[in-house]
Amino acid sequence: MTPSSNTAASQLLGGSNSILAELYSQPGVSGCCVQSGSTVLAHDLPFSDDRVDRFASRVDHLLLSYTGVGRTVWHICLGFEKFWVLVLARDRNSLSILLQPNTDTTMIASRAAHLLMGVDIVVEKMQPAPKLPPASVITPLVPSIPAVAETPGIPVAELEQLLTALLSRVMGSAQTSKLIARELQRQGANGVALRPERAREMGLAVIDFIGNRSKRDALASEFLNAIK
């Protein structure tokens, strides 16, 4: 037996006190593969890891095809000319056991089901503890009040007054008033005060109606300076 050289393997397959040691005391057991989902945790099958990975992937797919239609599989016994394969499933973990033909699968399945619970515990222990991000990037559970809200808001009336003053230079006053009123209403400026960035967005949207590009840019620049 050549257990895979990883932590899971040593816990699952290695030593007389390993979880699967009891399984190997049963007659007819020739090898096994422990997997979580399609990931092989440990195996001692006489094949390359790549081949066993593919086997595990297909086992997982087979089990998922049952669970996917609401059928809970306890175990699947597959008989072949040379070996039998007993696949036990428990949640997302499964244990595939290679058996000599004519082995008492009922006994093995009973023992293995118990052992699979032990695998659950090992898998649970193997889950890496969540790494805490640096303090600077920890997101508080309670969202902090945005910094912009701490700055005084810009009254809508003040924004209207500013825009009117700017746009009246290039447009008629009646047209300017209508445009500003319509745009501010369309953008939902119903509150008493706006956050500065929101006021900037709205103001620039109104200024965007100025057809002449150089006048538009000049007024936009003046508007942004005024709104700081």
């Binding site: 094949f47 086997f55 699947i76 597959l78 008989g79 072949f80 040379k82 004519n102 699968t105």
Partner: protein, 105 residues
Amino acid sequence: MGGSLLDEVSEVLIHLDSQKEIEKAPDCVFHKDNQEEARIMIFESDYVLDYSNEFSDLLALGKPLFASVTEPGRQTSFRYNPDSSQDIVLTKTHRGIEQILSALP
């Protein structure tokens, strides 16, 4: 799965010929309410056989002979015969594979 076949009987044996046509089955299989479940079992037999063939290719296991799927309150077993015919055994109680195979004709 509704398990309607097992509501009526405790064991169902279906024999499929090499063309996957039912050659022998109890009357309950042909009841309208059970036909869907019977169809699924016939499909499942081939489905598991496909996987068995894949496993055999990967692990050099030899030709698939049988499969048995054990679920709570249900065990479905499939025997793949040399002449490409198949036997399907559905039981409520869980049995050892030897017991299932030996009971087949």
